[in-house]
């Protein structure tokens, strides 16, 4: 256990002494909060022009979390860079010289990345919530104590964290930050979005990792999906476990 803890503090040192990882985290926070403010401010002005159905369906919590989607890209970048740069820069050789047990090295890496992602997600999500609700204005905003608000917030935190961890596993398989981002970013933020809006494909597309996780972020799950918040979390957890396992298998085979 003490061997694992020194491996973790090694990974912590590496994570905070490179600009790209630190900046991706700062960016995650700034972009989420900025978009929440902007979105909330726009909504405040646009509310009166909405149709009656629009007003009825207006969910200030979900609207406030729109900005998280962009912040999440930054968190995915963080996870990918944390793992992928080991391979792309050759740092993995000095890392494995120091921690030659590959299982221990990998566990330390994933624990470190996930812990940081969780901490940043907590801070970002709460900040985003309060920023968005302030911007929407006291007339129609939500309070954190409202029915479902805290649950959606927890869902958003879990979702962001698991998506980052999933990305670390993928980066360990692909070993190239550029390739990993080239696949993950379009998958999460375009392909999945498109597929989930095509009526025929939607039944299947909701099982993609990010779509499954996203259900957690809504106050009440949409009618159209088979999954609900909890099965969504479960499915994203399974995806994450599969990616981590594949990453571990890849690392064991790494030959350098």
């Amino acid at each position: 256990m003490s061997a694992l803890s020194s491996a973790v503090s090694f990974e912590m040192t590496k994570a905070r002494t490179v600009r790209s990882t630190v900046w991706s985290l700062i960016f995650c926070f700034l972009v989420s909060v900025a978009i929440a403010l902007l979105f909330g401010w726009v909504l405040r002005g646009a509310y009166d022009d909405m149709s009656p159905e629009g007003k009825a369906g207006f969910d200030p919590v979900a609207s406030g979390y729109n900005g998280l989607r962009l912040g999440m890209i930054a968190l995915v970048v963080f996870g990918v860079v944390l793992v992928g740069s080991e391979f792309s820069t050759g740092t993995i050789r000095s890392s494995l010289a120091a921690v030659p047990d590959r299982g221990r090295f990998y566990a330390a890496k994933i624990i470190t990345g996930t812990t940081i992602a969780l901490a940043v997600s907590v801070i970002t999500t709460f900040a985003t919530f309060f920023a968005a609700q302030t911007a929407i204005g006291s007339a129609r905003n939500a309070s954190i104590t409202d029915q479902g608000a805290l649950q959606a917030t927890m869902g958003a935190i879990i979702y962001m964290t698991l998506l980052c961890t999933f990305s670390m596993g993928v980066a360990a398989v692909l070993r190239s930050p550029a390739l990993s981002l080239g696949i993950l970013v379009p998958l999460f933020f375009m392909v999945s979005e498109i597929l989930n809006n095509l009526p025929g494909v939607q039944k299947v597309a909701q099982f993609l990792p990010d779509a499954a996780g996203q259900i957690m972020m809504r106050g009440d799950p949409p009618e159209s999906t088979v999954l609900n918040g909890w099965t969504g979390v479960g499915l994203l957890t399974l995806w994450t476990a599969a990616a981590l396992f594949a990453g571990y298998a890849g690392l064991r085979r790494w030959d350098g």
Binding site: A3, S6, T91, I92, S94, A97, P100, G256
Partner: protein, 311 residues
């Protein structure tokens, strides 16, 4: 002690290391010599557990490297390939490594001072010159003050001052009783630092001996005679059953007789000579001769080295 047992490493059909076995004993510098592509780096990476052998294994003090507890305190490795994040500072690179093996952080500055990098401690690795990057690699190897060192071509890319510095450092480390395996493709470099030699070519063991023995065995030495009385000297030698040949510059070269024997023969027959001296092929030539058959990339257009560069 470092041991390698029947190590074989294949990359597809290509054999990088072929049934290689040797031991590296403590308290001396062992030179690991071989031409480009001989398999030196591959062997070292296998010993470190970075690369998986096809068969065979390497051990450090009787254990595989991945099983070592806090390996940086037991083995320091300087590898050929890049192993530093270009965006991380020199100090933080070492500080992270120190954390991983519970090495006190005070060792970071000590080690930086040892390799002369104190002034660039805060600089990012990407901004280092080639020589500084080499020193950072050495600092990482020395950080845990390990009794065993694996150094893969540490003089590569260094200027003459850097080379002198590193020779001194390696000798000092060996004098402290450490086990040092240092690879090179330059025999002359090894002659200056190593006391034992392991020579490989195409992944196979070609020699495993002391440096003195290697020199004695492999340098084809001869006695060189310069004389105004060529004919008489030849006759005298032939009569005594000693083989003589004409050297490239017209001097007589005698193989298979000692300097003393030749001197006595000449003295007994009162021949005039201008020079009688012992000559040997250079170490580099001896090395090239040994590995000639195993050089991977050879210019087939001509001999591997020009003849007549003896002495």
């Amino acid at each position: 002690m470092i041991e390698v047992h029947h190590l074989t490493k294949r990359y597809g059909a290509a054999v990088a290391v072929d049934e290689l076995s040797f031991q590296v004993r403590p308290g001396q510098v062992t030179g690991f010599l071989g031409p480009n592509g001989a398999g030196k780096s591959t062997t070292m990476r296998v010993i470190m557990g970075l690369c998986r052998p096809t068969s065979g294994y390497g051990l450090i003090d009787g254990r595989p490297y991945p099983e070592l507890e806090r390996p940086l305190r037991q083995v320091g490795a300087f590898l050929e390939a890049k192993a530093v994040h270009p965006g991380r500072s020199v100090y933080h690179h070492l500080a992270g490594l120190a954390k991983s093996n519970r090495i006190p952080e005070s060792r970071v500055n000590e080690t930086l001072a040892l390799v002369g990098l104190q002034t660039v401690a805060r600089k990012r690795a990407a901004g280092l010159s080639l020589g500084m990057a080499q020193r950072l690699g050495l600092a990482a190897a020395l950080l845990g003050n390990p009794p065993v060192l694996l150094l893969d071509e540490p003089v590569n890319g260094l200027d003459p001052e850097g080379i002198l510095w590193i020779r001194g450092l390696i000798r000092r480390l060996a004098d402290e009783g450490r086990t040092i395996l240092v690879s090179s493709h330059l025999m002359s470099e090894m002659a200056l630092t190593a006391s034992h030699l392991i020579v490989i070519g195409r992944g196979r063991l070609l020699a495993d001996t002391t440096i003195d023995d290697f020199i004695a065995r492999n340098s084809r030495s001869f006695v060189r005679i310069r004389t105004p009385e060529q004919e008489r000297v030849r006759d005298v030698l032939t009569a005594a059953g000693v083989e003589a040949r004409r050297g490239p510059d017209g001097a007589i070269e005698v193989v298979g007789a000692s300097l003393e024997q030749v001197g006595e023969l000449i003295g007994r027959h009162h021949v005039t000579v201008h020079e009688v001296s012992m000559r040997s092929a250079s170490l580099e030539e001896a090395f090239m001769q040994l590995t000639a058959d195993s050089v991977e990339y050879r210019d087939d257009a001509g001999p591997a080295f020009p003849a007549g560069r003896m002495g």
